[in-house]
Amino acid sequence: MSGEAPLIQVAGLSKKFCTDLRTSLKYGVQDLAAEMVGRERSHQLRPKEFWALNDVSFELHRGECLGLLGRNGAGKTTLLKMLNGLMKPDKGRIELRGRVGALIALGAGFNPVLTGRENIFVNAAVLGIPSSVVRQRLDEIIAFAELEDFIDMPVQNYSSGMNVRLGFSVAAVLLEPDILFLDEVLAVGDIGFAMKCLNRVREMMAHSAVIFVSHSMPMVSSFCTRALVMQRGRVMLDTEDMGLAMDLYMRDFPVEHRVTGSGGAEVLDLRLLAKGEPVAEADAVVDQGSEGAVELTVRIEQGERAMVSVFIDDIAMSQVLAVVVKDGRGEPIEFGGGTHRLHVPLGKLEMNMGSYSILVGVRSLNSQLSLCRAQGLSPFRVRSHNVTWSKIVREQVSTVLPA
């Protein structure tokens, strides 16, 4: 493998897009005319145009998997489409060596009236695979899709899961690419099938150069050996340090601060502590595994009796950790009306890399209603150099037992 030329070479790649449909169509006609007379494309932006991809360069070797990270509209899909030869660059150059395969648009060419079996042949033809090969591996495809009983049924009677399973199986069994493009589709169907997909994708990855677009950080960290963080068409970072890349990507998402509840209580102040020290307010970073705590001030309406809980939310606003505020005897602390200051230890912050925030809930013991639910407080990122595919990361000293 060493010494082999890179399979993908991209140099100074740029692409213009237009914000307005009518203008875009007009430019399309102009480009068409220019293309026909063989005139070179203008490198200037015309009105209502912007650079969807701006001066992107990289090389990729066999065995590498490059994750494209960035918010929607950062240029990931555009880059993928240009690599796949669907659009012409406005500037720059792409060179690909070897067979190109894409796990994109699964089940392309399926006709709903035809049976699963017939559609396998159509889909394979779109992927450029001759029928003789399909015939040899037909049973394998059907078995992979787990559709033995339904393969002669029209696909319009398939559930959407069955449809996508068939589409995935055709591509996954038949493609043997040197260069592989993946766009967020590697796990389809139910959990059992999704695991099978992932294993198959991993096999395909072993002997190809892979470009992978995904928003799922666990997937990225488990598959990719390298990442390109993109922002507004530019490459902000090209690194093999996945932790660094994800950290930069996460920084691109502002955490939304939201308060709901009856209003019978409010969080006046909250401060995050790590290793006993307050964490900076802006751009807060916490090292994985450090002891965390919050100091908070809540005001509760007179006449109420309430319970306080603290949660850690991940980027998707789902709760990762719940801390029930108890006293020394293990009983929940009951708060009456007034202003209370609390120190709540959070334990070791063992979450995997990513963006997190604090949620404080105050629940009335009289009515069981939520008095206050303040979300997105004190956002922080967890930093780590361990890249693992898990929600929680714990380092444990282990003992080697005598055999």
């Binding site: 875009s24 030869g85 669907l86 012409k88 779109v126």
Partner: protein
């Protein structure tokens, strides 16, 4: 590992020889896919329809009935035709329908595959070739039913009948070449797709589909210079054994059609990457 793909902003017009080679290579590469797509569409259409291929005849028959009635009632006066008028209208309408379908085919083919055209890379010539295959298929079906129908209507074809499929094929190629030439613009603006049936209506009346070619006057010139005229006249003559019209115009139209088909193919190849970015962005 011999495959190397290079994408740059340079226009493919920079090296025309390479572009022509690329076109020929991709057309030959696209046969398998084209065949699969054609087979898919034909079987799907067949399976989902009760009347199936009878539909190919319902329109011409309806048209024939209308014109026979118009002719009988004297609403329009139609000059005498060499063969019985019903046969004249029936064959004319049939050929005309094939021509119009051929014009519409490239745009339709592209529209049908739009969902994966903008996501996957495959020889896009396959869409056009598959459109041609479908038309050849329908040509064969129509021919097989046309011949007994014509005999039933009291016309006896002569040896020219064996040439008739060739005339029909040229008609299909001519229509497809026009369709292919307008497809790049048609993909950008859907006005094009809407205008085709309108123009087809108009053109039908200056082509000897339901009317005979006028003997003299301005309209006679219009009929004569209309490139669709030789196609319809020759096809009909060969189908029915009537006197064959001058062969030269037909040959000219056939040659130009094949030339245009080739130019259309190059244009299509040149235009698609530009169109895809406009369609999918």
């Amino acid at each position: 590992m011999s495959d190397v793909a290079i994408y740059t902003p340079d226009s493919a017009m920079g090296s025309p020889a390479k572009m022509v080679r690329g076109l020929l290579r991709d057309v030959s590469r696209s046969w398998h896919l084209a065949w699969r797509l054609a087979k898919r569409d034909i079987s799907a259409q067949y399976r989902q329809s009760f009347l199936g291929y009878l539909w190919a005849f319902i329109m011409p028959i309806a048209n024939t009935v209308v014109w026979i009635m118009l002719n009988r009632s004297g609403v329009v006066r139609i000059a005498d035709t060499a063969i019985p008028y019903p046969v004249y209208v029936f064959t004319g309408t049939m050929v005309w329908q094939m021509l119009v379908e051929a014009v519409q085919s490239p745009l339709q083919q592209v529209a049908m595959s739009r969902s994966f055209l903008t996501k996957l890379n495959f020889p896009r010539e396959a869409l056009i070739v598959s459109g041609l295959l479908k038309q050849v298929f329908s040509l064969i079906v129509k021919f097989v039913i046309l011949v007994p129908a014509v005999i039933l209507l009291g016309v006896s074809p002569d040896w020219h009948l064996v040439l008739a499929p060739f005339a029909l094929l040229v008609t299909v190629l001519a229509g497809s070449s026009v369709g292919l030439l307008i497809s790049p613009i048609g993909m950008l603006y859907n006005d094009v797709g809407r205008v085709i049936p309108l123009l087809a209506q108009f053109f039908m009346y200056i082509t000897p589909v339901v009317f005979a070619v006028p003997g003299s006057g301005f309209m006679a010139q219009v009929f004569r210079w209309n490139p669709a005229t030789p196609l319809v006249l020759t096809s009909r003559a060969w189908l029915t054994g009537a006197d064959t019209p001058a062969f030269v115009p037909f040959l000219v139209v056939a040659t130009v059609a094949i030339l245009l088909l080739f130019i259309g193919g190059l244009l299509y190849r040149l235009a698609l990457p530009i169109l895809i970015e406009r369609l999918s962005s």
